[in-house]
Symmetry: C2
């Protein structure tokens, strides 16, 4: 059996799967104090002995395996978790290989292995929810460098008629500061799912997301781009995002896919909310000793 943990800001989902990827057992634990939450996680894996565990975690977190503080949650606003080392805690309790990556890298890996990116060389997975983040997989490997990517904070060009100053505490009107769920809500005090589909805010949001996808394309040239998260549940955004991507790109990339209708190139993840957990299982498989 292999173990997977989706370590999110509000809940931890733990799963144990057999060799055929069937879920044998699964629990959901609230993200409380680290000690409390980890106690339940550890009990779950004592009950369900697995060969290895893969974790897709909220960040910022150290995911470079050769760092001394591998698995440590870094400067997060969630004070109880700041500087907590998930890898050390789990390793001390369970004597098995453990692999930690970001939640979005895990989701990208899930789609690479079992979703829309099967057979492709690379995939970009973006979530637009409480925050904006993205993971990238190239030939089965998740991308990280000095730190893990923070693609949600790139600067884009705000439209003049959108006077919202942005709500990123660090950059004001970076991508996340303009298109995250809370950023949409901050404009009029109306939550995204209560805004009419024809509200101009969606045009702004789609334009900014389209700009960001252009930037990601020009830098990473992913073979497919998948967008999940609460805000992306507004399905009417997708045609607008594709149009904005094309408008800003203005035909620069001379490739049939980029010049096409983009309906496959920019779409929902096939695995939906399960992408991260599926990817975490593959993180475990990649590190298990046989």
């Amino acid at each position: 059996m292999y173990g997977a943990i989706e370590a999110g800001g509000t809940k931890f989902v733990c799963a144990a799967v057999d060799e055929d990827m069937n879920i044998v057992d699964q629990i959901t634990v609230a993200t409380l104090e680290p000690k409390q939450t980890m106690k339940e996680v550890i009990e779950f894996f004592k009950k369900n002995p697995v060969k290895a565990i893969g974790i897709g975690a909220f960040g910022p977190i150290e995911i470079s395996p050769n760092k001394e503080n591998y698995g440590q949650i870094l400067n997060t606003p969630k004070l109880a978790w700041r500087w907590f080392n998930m890898y050390k805690e789990l390793s001390a309790a369970l004597d098995i290989p453990i692999k930690i990556d970001t939640d979005v890298n895990a989701a990208a890996l899930g789609e690479f292995k079992e979703g829309h990116a099967v057979g492709k060389r690379s995939v970009l997975y973006i979530t637009i929810g409480t925050g904006v983040g993205a993971g990238f997989v190239l030939e089965g490997e998740t991308l990280f460098g000095l730190t893990h990517p923070e693609m949600g904070h790139i600067l884009i060009r705000q439209k003049e008629e959108d006077v919202f100053k942005g709500n990123c505490p660090t950059h004001n009107n970076c991508l996340e500061g303009l298109v995250s769920g809370p950023a949409i809500e901050a404009r009029l005090g109306i939550k995204g799912h209560e805004l009419g589909e024809d509200h101009v805010i969606w045009d702004h949001v789609a334009d900014y997301i389209g700009q960001a996808l252009m930037t990601y394309n020009l830098i990473l040239s992913p073979e497919i781009i998948l967008i999940g998260g609460g805000v992306a549940q507004q399905a009417h955004l997708f045609p607008k995002i594709r149009t904005a991507f094309k408008k800003h790109m203005n035909g620069y990339i001379d490739h049939e896919i980029i010049k096409g209708d983009l309906e496959e190139y920019i779409q929902y993840p096939k695995l939906g909310q399960k992408a991260g957990l599926v990817g975490s299982i593959y993180l475990a498989k990649g590190i298990a000793l046989d």
Copy 2:
């Protein structure tokens, strides 16, 4: 011996090196009509038999080895070269393995193997000259996807006081449209090397480059960023670029290098103009049959 070609828009440099990387023979050929230029290149490698050839080429060019048109120059403004397949032409004349990549990917690889990125996991190499482009190497592999990256065309935020509309034929004021040598010259009709160091244009240019480096950092998180090309010869730009990078980043990436003085993180390539040729030799080494 190994062969290397730096295939540039104005000249082709061909080199043959021995196992110890000593240059045994080298020529420079003007970039005229493809047939003319290639004839001299082929003669050079008939005279200097090498095991394999690595090429760092101007683009756009197909660099994905599994594509049927691998090595074909794509939709370039250099009409004589448009749709010309360098790989096919050379392969037909010389029966040896040939590897083609972009000039900037080759330069990044040169720095990875013998320059400032030795011992690092990744490197971003940027050239700011007639155009703006960048190459990225991660664990010895150059980055490409659907196409090769076109990082020079990302959208940045132009300052209000900089009223130049930009000279990118596709995007107007993308990065290249604002900071390339011709873009600098287009503002006042004065070439970059004739502008005083204290001219406000340099402040604008440095700000835009700093923004771009922030974007590259948030997406790729390279372990080091090296900047070459004619415009970068204005050494006074570097402190300004580092300051702009820090200003826009605003402390978001909590890493000692990013919070430090950036003097090593953002600097000149160690190999200078030779980075591309050195990288091309390693492209050849990587593909040679022994």
